[in-house]
């Protein structure tokens, strides 16, 4: 699989490095750009997918005519996988739980929330979260007090989490979207198990309380 990286921010660059570690993936950077680690190419010829972040990424992908793996929360024309973000990772993790009572994510890039407080594993700890929706799914979100991020699903039977450096989590959340890509446009939690396996293979650790 050949992946073209749209240089749209830190998460995309980190995703490139996570993808490059996979033996079956070739990574190129779509120019204009400079890279010491990857070939820089002028267009996306020969790429199976592009990865990118932010509002401008779908339009760039359409210009290149290659489907996009994206961190946005909605399906747009030219996007084959969306929700490839810490929020989507949280929803994918929670979708595998039978009875999630609280689905929450804390990240340094998110806004502080004030609806109630959620207790994330250390070093994030107990923080205020806002009850929001992400792609129509219920998700409590809060601002991490430090550089760490955490996904949390609290159930009757067990609690599960993924916690890591926020920027590292964002990069892998995007990169792991490759595991979900096919011809249809869909969110990462539609194929949650493959997505979670890809994310853990790339270095994230999922843990259960107990």
């Amino acid at each position: 699989v050949k992946i073209g990286v749209l240089v749209t921010g830190d998460a995309a660059v980190r995703a490139a490095h996570s993808l490059a570690a996979h033996p079956a993936v070739d990574v190129v950077v779509i120019g204009p750009a400079r890279s010491k680690s990857f070939p820089v190419v002028p267009d996306a010829d020969g790429c199976d997918y592009l990865v990118g972040t932010g509002d401008q990424a779908p339009e760039k992908a359409r210009e290149h005519g290659v489907p996009l793996i994206w961190d946005g929360e909605r399906l747009e024309r030219g996007v084959t996988v969306y929700g490839a973000s810490p929020q989507g990772l949280t929803l994918a993790m929670a979708s595998r739980e039978p009875d999630p009572q609280l689905v929450a994510v804390a990240h340094p890039a998110l806004r502080a929330g004030g609806n109630h407080r959620a207790r994330f594993p250390s070093p994030v700890g107990r923080i205020g979260v806002a009850d929001t929706t992400y792609a129509g799914q219920r998700l409590a979100t809060g601002k991490s007090p430090n550089s760490y991020a955490a996904c949390l699903a609290v159930g009757v039977r067990r609690n599960v989490t993924i916690i890591d450096h926020g920027a590292f989590m964002s990069g892998i959340s995007l990169a792991a979207g490759v595991a979900v890509a096919n011809s249809d446009g869909r969110p990462v939690w539609d194929d949650a198990l493959d997505y979670l396996h890809a994310a853990t293979d790339m270095g994230l650790v999922m843990a259960e309380e107990g």
């Binding site: 207790r119 396996h197 853990t200 999922m206 843990a207 259960e208 309380e209």
Partner: protein, 39 residues
Amino acid sequence: VKRFSPLIVAAALAALALAALKMTEDKEPSRTWTPVQPS
């Protein structure tokens, strides 16, 4: 006997309650997390 304003007393009680809540949070036992594979 020196009498304090009810407002001052209320503020002092609120501060004590907040401090107690903070202490309760600080004293919550640290939880143990065990790595698992997605399933």
